[in-house]
Amino acid sequence: MSYHEASTIAAADAPRLDQDDRPTLRFVTCGSVDDGKSTLVGRLLYDSKTLLDDQLDALASESKTAGTTAGDLDFALLVDGLQAEREQGITIDVAYRFFATKLRRFIVADTPGHAQYTRNMATGASNADLAVVLVDARKGVITQTRRHSHILSLLGIRHVVLAVNKMDLIGFDGDRFASITAEYLTLAGQLGISQVQCIPVVAPDGDNIVAASARMLWYEGPTITAYLESVNVAGDASQQPFRLPVQWVSRPHADFRGFCGRIASGTIALGDAVRAQPSGHQTRIARILTPAGERNHARPGESITLTLADEIDVSRGDVLTAGSAAPVSDQLAAHLVWFDGEAMVTGRRYLLRCGTASTGAVITELKHRIAIDTMARESATTLDVNEIGYVHLDLDRPLVFEAYRDNRDMGSFILIDPISHRTAAAGMIDMSLRRATNVHWQRLAVDKSVRARLKQQRPCVLWFTGLSGAGKSTIANLVDSRLAELGRHAALLDGDNLRHGINRDLGFTNAERTENVRRVAEIAALFVDAGLIALVALISPFRSERELARQRLEAGEFIEIHVATPLAECERRDPKGLYRKARAGQLPAFTGIDHPYEAPLAPDITIDTSELSSEAACERIIRYLREHNYL
């Protein structure tokens, strides 16, 4: 009996009460420093009776010592969680808070107002249905308001509550409120924010938060709470075509092969026809396993496991689709919000994550930058932290996607810096620049397994990585000769030699090193297709790029050999005199000296030539190939 069945049966006689199914509204608060966001959120928590006695006691005592409200309850202290924030009296990171009323549950992301923390605002907005934008009634719509509203519109937020705070400080002036409202509605119209509700409030006193203010009788609209409880934000993802990004392939035993993932859109039922994209293989749904047991249908947002009628090749990063096929492309146009302190570099390869797919991606062109204050398109060559632009991307592999405006889960991505691993940018796909779907893979009648049988060997890539002078080429040459003696067919790709030919146009910047490795990986993969054992001797300093080479091949075809001779020993040998030049400053960006080398975490073979002769290293590799049935 499976775990599902066990728990379902145990709870079978438990009454299932679905009546109390209050929907959850996720919203984000944003505004400038001191507009009173944290106070507003604290007030919502306080008024919803979410706070418990010991938390109220702590608030009362902290308000006296750390508060800025002369002994009254300082509601901002409830949400300004980190010590640094309490000391500085500002919010520096996103905080998630939970509260509920009789009608709805709420998750609120409280986000900072500083310009340099715009990325946190985008983070909070990415999962929100609605935004509460705060302005100080004395200041009205300011640059920060425009910036935040722009990010909200880019992230697909269509519902905004404009909370005009500190009305007490302008004497509850209704005319001033009306002019702020008019100014914001103009802005929202430009940004495509279709639903705006403007509400005058005094957050610390609770005016128009839960109860209508007795001090602003001229305002006849809803309070913040009443509006949040009633606004309809639901887009119906179940009406869209079925999309399931495959997260995990479950193969607990020979008789079960399940494809796990969370449904991004659409519904699915037993027997429905589905295809795996990008391969295009078609089959039908055999079983649907959900956390609540086996069922005959499933809906968007559910984490499920599907089994298929036919055995087709599906792996993590693929998407199971039904109805109309999802677009597939390796050339995309997208909006980027740049997060990293290190500015965007066109031509550099970043790691792109979209759904469950990961691939290398080069920003080929920055079409324009968007001036936050005016929304104007400016020409630019780079994006700095907190800047927004429109770019073209060239991906290493075709991506199954949807435009962000149609499907957030299928159209959003992040870019990761391959060296620092920081999240460099958030992206929203606008469209494909060409249809990769039209470029079909040529199916070949004679495949590599046929050729491999002819040669009595399992084709693979022996990837020698290590510092300059570590002994990669020497050992690879010995292995090449030894394989020839044994009557096997190999081919050697040497980094230095390739730079005289196919890679002669490449230099030594990060982007060019990456491209160098990509080309070599592609050639090695073609050799494997031809049934050969490809020997690659290449410094290949970045783990991420070696990983991309591994992903280009099938499981077991990539054998990573770390020639781990210590730097001191390499430098002592210095067979090409390169270290001497590098130390003299004549070779900038030299690996190991002023450029990083990321050692493999789990290499298949490790060789230190300061301890092992090249011949012994060669024999160890041959032995490995025999033991693992490559020979």
Binding site: Y3, L17, T24, F339, A426
Partner: protein, 323 residues
């Protein structure tokens, strides 16, 4: 002093259900939380070389384990369980832990900081702050380093405490296990940046968006086994600094004039018995607990001594590698 007779329950720890009372359950809401947590667990399994699940035996761990069983069903979770044993856990917790691992056929790693043990670190003579650092924080780091785990899944929730409210679902740790709250990776949509440099690791919190009440509702909905200490029973306690401390074994030094009293109590959180305050309660079944919870006017961490050592103590402990 003689060993106190403490009733332990050996029967499977499925709490009493058939009381005929209406349950306050919001299925769709819980199913949404469940789907998100399962998504996070599967991401962890797919993206990391060697993940591990921190199993602290409490109710959150019970829910986490239940979700992991579901996420990989009909297979087993592709990671072991790790329990950092301070040697001061309630005896019923240890019995429950071993039984669950056996019942589910899971690989359970138990780690104790033997250096701390041989130095005789205990919660009475060294103070809760030092004790927690040595026997919990350092012990956890030792275990993660020793086994080379690159992702540790924990049951922390954002509603527990203010600094937790800002923690990411995938929370990056330096090679020294430090959390840098000012330099957290942004998390947008359901996309997680799981890249690590050598030696770095990730803490993963699938229950980030659950509240304490959600946890209880889900335990009720899914009939999840929990340690019986969560249910009210007559237990021997002493009152110290306003907290009810259960005398779980004879290692607990009693102060002059102090004598354990048998009272009907239960626990809202479980940890080391000398540091875990009980609450007076007669809620002996899950539905009664949920009812009591709904009416509760104090937070669960009130029973924890370690959060109140010093201002912002949780934030500091987390930066040092505490879960």
């Amino acid at each position: 002093m003689t060993m106190l007779e403490v009733p332990t329950i050996d029967a499977p720890a499925v709490p009493g259900m058939a009381d005929g009372k209406q349950r306050r359950i919001t299925t769709s809401h819980l199913r949404r939380l469940e789907a998100e947590s399962i998504h996070i667990l599967r991401e962890t399994a797919a993206e990391f070389r060697k993940p591990v699940m921190l199993y602290s035996i409490g109710k959150d761990s019970s829910v986490l384990l239940h979700l992991a069983m579901k996420a990989f069903d009909p297979g087993k979770p592709p990671f072991p369980l790790l329990h950092v044993d301070t040697t001061w856990k309630f005896r019923e917790m240890i019995a429950f832990r071993d039984r669950r691992a056996r019942e589910l056929g899971l690989d359970l790693i138990v780690h104790t900081n033997n250096d701390g043990l041989s130095q005789g670190i205990d919660p009475f003579s060294h103070g809760s702050a030092r004790y927690t650092d040595v026997m919990k924080t350092q012990a956890l780091r030792q275990a993660l380093d020793f086994h080379g785990f690159d992702a540790a899944i924990g049951g922390a929730r954002r509603d527990e405490e203010k600094s937790r409210a800002k923690e990411r679902v995938f929370s990056h740790r330096s090679a020294a296990h430090r959390w840098d709250p000012k330099n957290q990776r942004p998390e947008l949509w359901g996309l997680y940046n799981t890249r690590l440099a050598p030696g770095e690791s990730m803490r993963v919190f699938p229950l980030s968006n659950w509240t304490e009440l959600d946890v209880w509702d889900y335990i009720l909905l899914e009939d999840i086994p929990i340690v019986p200490l969560y249910l009210a029973a007559s237990r021997p306690v002493v009152e110290r600094d306003g907290a009810l401390i259960m005398v779980d074994d004879d290692r607990m030094p009693l102060q002059p004039g102090e004598a354990p009293q048998w009272r009907s109590v239960r626990f809202r959180t479980l940890g080391c018995y000398p540091l875990t305050g009980a609450t007076s309660s007669t809620a002996a079944t899950l539905p009664e607990i949920v009812q009591e919870m709904t009416a509760s006017r104090t937070s669960e961490r009130q029973g924890r001594m370690i959060d109140r050592d010093s201002p912002a103590s949780m934030e500091r402990k987390k930066a040092e590698g505490y879960f």
